[in-house]
Symmetry: D2
Subunit: 358 residues, 4 copies
Amino acid sequence: MSSNSFGKVFKLTTFGESHGKAIGGIIEGCPPNLTLDLDFINNEIARRKPSNAFWATPRNEEDVVIWLSGLSNTTTNGAPIAFMIENQNIKKQDYINLSSAYRPSHGDFTWESKYNTPPTTGGGRLSARETLARVVAGAIAKQWLLKNGINITAWTHSIGSISILDSNPIDTNNIGSNALFCPDQQTVPLMEELLRGLVEKGDSTGGIVRCTIEGLPVGLGEPLFDKTEALLGHAMLSIPAVKGFEIGSGFEGTKMAGSYHNDPFIIKDQKITTLTNHSGGVLGGITNGSNIDFKVAFKPVSTIKLPQNTVDRNGIETTLEASGRHDACVVPRAVVIVEAMAALVIADLMLRQKLIQQ
Amino acid sequence: MSSNSFGKVFKLTTFGESHGKAIGGIIEGCPPNLTLDLDFINNEIARRKPSNAFWATPRNEEDVVIWLSGLSNTTTNGAPIAFMIENQNIKKQDYINLSSAYRPSHGDFTWESKYNTPPTTGGGRLSARETLARVVAGAIAKQWLLKNGINITAWTHSIGSISILDSNPIDTNNIGSNALFCPDQQTVPLMEELLRGLVEKGDSTGGIVRCTIEGLPVGLGEPLFDKTEALLGHAMLSIPAVKGFEIGSGFEGTKMAGSYHNDPFIIKDQKITTLTNHSGGVLGGITNGSNIDFKVAFKPVSTIKLPQNTVDRNGIETTLEASGRHDACVVPRAVVIVEAMAALVIADLMLRQKLIQQ
Amino acid sequence: MSSNSFGKVFKLTTFGESHGKAIGGIIEGCPPNLTLDLDFINNEIARRKPSNAFWATPRNEEDVVIWLSGLSNTTTNGAPIAFMIENQNIKKQDYINLSSAYRPSHGDFTWESKYNTPPTTGGGRLSARETLARVVAGAIAKQWLLKNGINITAWTHSIGSISILDSNPIDTNNIGSNALFCPDQQTVPLMEELLRGLVEKGDSTGGIVRCTIEGLPVGLGEPLFDKTEALLGHAMLSIPAVKGFEIGSGFEGTKMAGSYHNDPFIIKDQKITTLTNHSGGVLGGITNGSNIDFKVAFKPVSTIKLPQNTVDRNGIETTLEASGRHDACVVPRAVVIVEAMAALVIADLMLRQKLIQQ
Amino acid sequence: MSSNSFGKVFKLTTFGESHGKAIGGIIEGCPPNLTLDLDFINNEIARRKPSNAFWATPRNEEDVVIWLSGLSNTTTNGAPIAFMIENQNIKKQDYINLSSAYRPSHGDFTWESKYNTPPTTGGGRLSARETLARVVAGAIAKQWLLKNGINITAWTHSIGSISILDSNPIDTNNIGSNALFCPDQQTVPLMEELLRGLVEKGDSTGGIVRCTIEGLPVGLGEPLFDKTEALLGHAMLSIPAVKGFEIGSGFEGTKMAGSYHNDPFIIKDQKITTLTNHSGGVLGGITNGSNIDFKVAFKPVSTIKLPQNTVDRNGIETTLEASGRHDACVVPRAVVIVEAMAALVIADLMLRQKLIQQ
């Protein structure tokens, strides 16, 4: 019972493999009469594929969204919104020889075992190219959220062991100033230096994306099991290469005393809010009106140039030497994907909350 | 659109509030003809409520499971399994005065705002008492998994800043030897010392539960969106007080080089496996046959004895002085809850995988 | 993958077997702050079990609803509403001998085959006693609908071949005037006469329930697949003994000419409505503001006193001679069940429609 | 909360409007390693659009399926199967003037009211053209069912008041011998005569499709709420123009005596079966191994040539005179749609039943 859908009301169902004809999806539950800014959507797609980045190797193809259903001109009309992006960078579906090796820490081995299917090139359904559909849907969700005063912003928090210091204030206006999508001007050169060394060696590393959500009403989140943080965690851990998620004080907060960690309620601008935000914007799984603040851990890129021990599809131990180029770190390109998945979660929760308003 | 259900095939739907008549649930999709060991279930309930623990204050009531449906004697018969545990430790549903204060970092404020409902005592639906239903359902899932060779084991990994060293080997046989459910004999006294100090001060702290799952087949997990780690993250982040989840190398792994982090495939006992397990048992969201290994971060207990600044239900700033006793740390009692939720996830994925087997 | 839930937003999940401890359910998605009239609910339960009906043999037990969760006093509070009715009329779970016979046209054979489970007494999960949970949930949905101006009324349209003539006007005020729940005073004696003959012979028959829904807004129903009539059909065909469903002109309408069948739009009271209502209140699966009007066909009661040929659980052909009493017709008792299921459908659609309102 | 999905395991999600770019869908849960016969699928599409039928006016376009995902060559590979059929017969999305009239008994009025959207040409999402996606998905389900020995056959049972007599034996081999898909050679000329008269007058009529399912195992169907007949009813009533559904003895059976209606169990070929089949293949909502037998009522085609009274989009009463051609009856073209929806239901239930097999 596969799962190609995300969301209960604002719901995305996706399709597509890396070397198939197209990647795409169907969006159900998007409110009607929303006029879309298609340039914004194209720009989000572009953010997923930074140009002029020495550490990245995006596929050399233009990703053009073809709208199949759900829009009258550019306005949502109540029908499901369907879209696709054709895969141009492929030859005929290649077949992989059984003597070819399983790529370590990739999903080929597990997918082929799960479905008892022969191997296909390019990662098939598990290729990171599937995230294109998430970005398109997220870009639609974002536009509706923005109309409701909600803004989602993610950035590169760390690459390898190079991290923005917690003491540094974040100016989110700077995020777009560099291809790393890192707002801290002092940290960017250090990250670039690290990446340059990895590229030279043919190696890779991981990193952390941080994300804030501003403008939230009190009341989003559906306990017991669809708490806001549970849905955000689910969403983030469904992104390729993600190994961890934390909200508010997260793992570090486990060391604190309750008397320090608790966020005192205060009155500000005649509304109830909290003095601190160790909770990261959620109490009992429900938004409390403060900003949501979370982090997502991405593992090092699995494709590297260095030779690796592995096993081939006949079960023979062998050595894999990758050719071609690869990304030294996936984090900068993941920034827009994290935002997209967060937008899907919040749009869904906003609509679900409408159901109990009188 | 509230969410009181978890799972798609092996599915738990729960009900109950802390000061209502009962806590309980309905389990759908449990395979028929499974003879349950009811003593095991009772023992799991007992693990959630450690006795002789100076740092904990379980409710003084016996939690007796009343089976309402789905069992012929003690064998599942295909009908949904319904059960309840009566709340004995309550007076008549108390009404909280509007002049009473919101408890910092609790969910009263957000729940009451979400539903526009008057306050009730004891945390209502958000009380940790709801986890009883999870433990009962998890204890059933565990028995079915064990018949299939799958074993789930969690323990206290850290309390506050006192943590089992990564260099220490874990002997899971020791977990039950102490009320902290910590397998490392050297760490236990340090944890107890920390907790003693917190109890004296009327303060609290957080900690980390670690969990492994052994005996898994290759192939569990349903990409794109129901990857194994995504469902585990969802499950764990739905537990009260959880602020973080990581699998395998997690946040620390983001700093590693890909050449180190990748898990080489090898042949062992004529099967494909991996030399290392930085992936934590999942590749592309699908189990690879290695053990799953994850950690869950719990925030410091919000109820403390120390006076705190807050706001009352009329929006007036005030000070809250809690009376009575409280847990200094929730982690030891959460060990069995983490196992229960993991069992629900894996049982569900085991059944979902049956759908594509030929 | 069993199905004990109905509805997507206003959602009922039920449990219970005829000879188990209790029948009950969990209702999610009921709007908060709805004050329930518990007497109304008890009265609906009573309608399912008409007294003084010579043709019926309700179980001799009082059906008392025990509320487990979701109400503060009698007002919904946002938590799931859980309830149960204990089965008092049972001895210890009886075991049926393998030499006992399968009852013709009952579900024992198929249930036992499906789940590979040993037989239990009383129909188990498939007993019509499960409809109690539907009636309780429906009685809650009805109260919320009534607050929104929507009224659901069902009645006995036919018993065997005795039917209210289409030319007779229906005065719904008369429905409660007799134990058959038939509003047509001329037809009641004929039905009673038919039933008297069947009781004497130990035989049974079927019949038709008709139902109207008044006060509907334009716009309910969720094409493509959750059209109003599709959900109503699903709901009705899930009731024990139902073999058919038709809305508006139904099967008879298939014979008409389009020029006669089409309902002309007109303006009335400054609103768009239709002159005729062959559509039965739905166009394209969406309510058009006219009354919904549908019929439900119930097969003859399967339990009869006459000897029947059948097969026992060892696969030996045998003869079954039922003892005890039975209902000669299920239709009058089904009237409230039809209403309850209709209420669940419409409450769910009302809430779903809130999601697209601006 | 719209509904463009059908099925829980074998699941179809569709998109597309009559005058949009394409109609299509995503199929999840289709078993992997199923090699599809694409010619069969194309032939099913052709059955939906009979040529040389004087009473029908299919759109003058070739319906070519473009496969977007989920197939390696023609074999299912575990990824979701996505497909589309481009709409060639359209100009640029036309806008309907507000002074244009609502078509009686069509869904324009209700859809536009529901979504508060401006009108579009061609019926938009509610156009019967959406059934193309059902036929494609059904044609895939059928192939998998056939591999499992299950065969689904529908035919035209009646057109207007011309019906195959119940006493006539059905030879399903004759179904394809005429454009009406009616197996009874004596009835076909009468139906043609009726249709000829309607075409001359510019009028239309309705009719009934009958369907049988052979080769079913005992045990399909998921009580309480997803009984086989409930899912079939849901499926059929979601098809445009359907007003009724009955299974087995249906409405006529309500008049029978239980002693006649009950199907005696017998032993045949060493298996338990029934002597008669008034139940239509289901007991307690679960298949009993006998053939499923059901009927679906289609209302008269709403588009007619005769002038009709109606109201325009400004709320002014007016007269509508349709131009162009139309189908005099939808029933023959609906035969393959009924089969397709039945196939989706049974494929889903077959997979769901796998979950409880040991």
